[in-house]
């Protein structure tokens, strides 16, 4: 039986006293490849932020399960659009940020950290662009750099917010295949949030669907993408 990585019990999430998600009871297992979907504004990003510890649950508990004496390391890949394009950073400088959590306060990244970040850029096929300005890269290339940044922290799990947003089908496929490869080769747990059914349908192994009443259906892809489950989230027939 796969080991548990994240355990949520009776969790309610929301902002400013408004509950968006309620009665969440679920487990994420190590090595999972889970897609989180739901209508716009349903609370997908809220769920992701709670997992990252950026917001506290209004009720219940959500905890990462320790293994080998320590909590799992989490790599976060935000939506590309959230990052300011005016920062004059190279792809390598962005990737090195993934090492910052491993350095103590006021300690600068050293040669070894740069080498690790460069290795991660190579892993995602971006080593040739290491010294290119991040803002000059295409959407797909920027996404790869952000994945490299998360990998630089040597994570047990990657949490990605809309990783293929704004991409054409080919770029979407390339990114999702990269994630699949990371999961299969490095046994990295992958959890991605998306509003794109194609990414879920073609790549996720398990699916979490946020319903209209703010609860979460989670299970194998075939079960969650069945019409009766989708009808609990979307008013239009999919």
């Amino acid at each position: 039986m796969p080991a548990e990585l994240l355990r949520a019990r009776g969790v309610a999430l929301g902002y400013g006293g408004r509950t968006v998600l309620r009665n969440l009871d679920f487990t994420i297992e190590r090595g999972d490849f889970l897609g989180v979907m739901g209508p716009n504004g349903s609370g997908k990003t809220t769920l992701l932020r709670a997992m990252l510890g950026l917001i506290k649950p209004l009720a219940g508990t959500m905890e990462w399960v320790a293994q080998n004496g320590g909590p799992p390391r989490i790599g976060y890949v935000p939506q590309r659009e959230r990052l300011d394009p005016n920062f004059p950073l190279s792809a390598l400088e962005v990737a090195v940020m993934g090492r910052f959590g491993k350095l103590g306060a006021m300690r600068r990244a050293g040669r070894a950290d740069v080498e690790i970040a460069l290795g991660c850029l190579t892993r995602v096929g971006m080593d040739r662009h290491a010294h290119s300005p991040y803002r000059s890269l295409s959407g797909g290339q920027q996404q790869r750099v952000l994945i490299a940044r998360a990998l630089a922290g040597e994570p047990d799990a990657l949490l990605l917010d809309e990783p293929t947003n704004g991409m054409d089908i080919e770029a979407e496929r390339a990114i999702m295949e990269l994630l699949l490869d990371l999961q299969q080769t490095n046994a990295t747990t992958i959890l991605f949030v998306t509003h794109l059914l194609s990414a879920i349908q073609n790549f996720a192994r398990r699916v979490a669907l946020i319903t209209r009443d703010g609860s979460l259906l989670i299970g194998p892809k075939g079960e969650i993408l069945a019409p009766q489950s989708l009808a609990r989230a979307y008013t239009e027939e999919i």
Partner: protein
Amino acid sequence: MDLLTVPFMRNVMLAGVLVALGLAPLSVYVVLRRIVFVGAAVAEISSAGVALAILFNLEPFPVALILTILTFLGFSRAADNPRLPLEALIGMLYAGGSAAAVLLIAKSPRGEGDILNVLFGNILTVPLPLLWMMVIAFGVVAAIQYLAAKEFLIVAYDPDMARALGIRVELWNTLFYVALGGSLRAAFVLATVIGVVATVVGIAGSYWLDLPTGPTIVGILAVLFGLSYLWAATRRA
């Protein structure tokens, strides 16, 4: 270099270079975080501190420094509130500091000449003890910038990522605001070089052409900005 034989001009040159060296790298973040008017707000709060010191016959520099640090400790807390736009907060600090300075001066026993010095300052009147205080203050600021470079970068660029990595965003934001008082590295170096060059040339130019020193320095910076803008536009074309 006859201007350096004039004692007060040596102080002026040293003070200007210290300000440029200490603050130019921070100015990169100020621009990137879109809080350029925070400098104006700092000046007003510090003016209020000087006015407060004059009113109670205290030493102006420490009072201004303490009031500015305390204000920006509060500012960094309020800046984390997503419901309060930063521009609004900076505007309130600017207006509040300016009003406080005028009100305190109105009750001050000293005259109009002091009022102008309080509101605008004068780089030509930097005395030696103040210069030593500047060496210490800007030395501390430069050390913080060097040591906390990675924290300043990530809390400005991606605060969510910073939190996810366990970096204490609020703490480093507080330190950043207090320190205000081609990478990116190239931008820091360039900002410092431009700041120092404009200051030195501005002070020398004001001495030889008999112009006010502060506006001459700012004027040179404005011309440099215009030239760099034209250069970038030409390159894009």
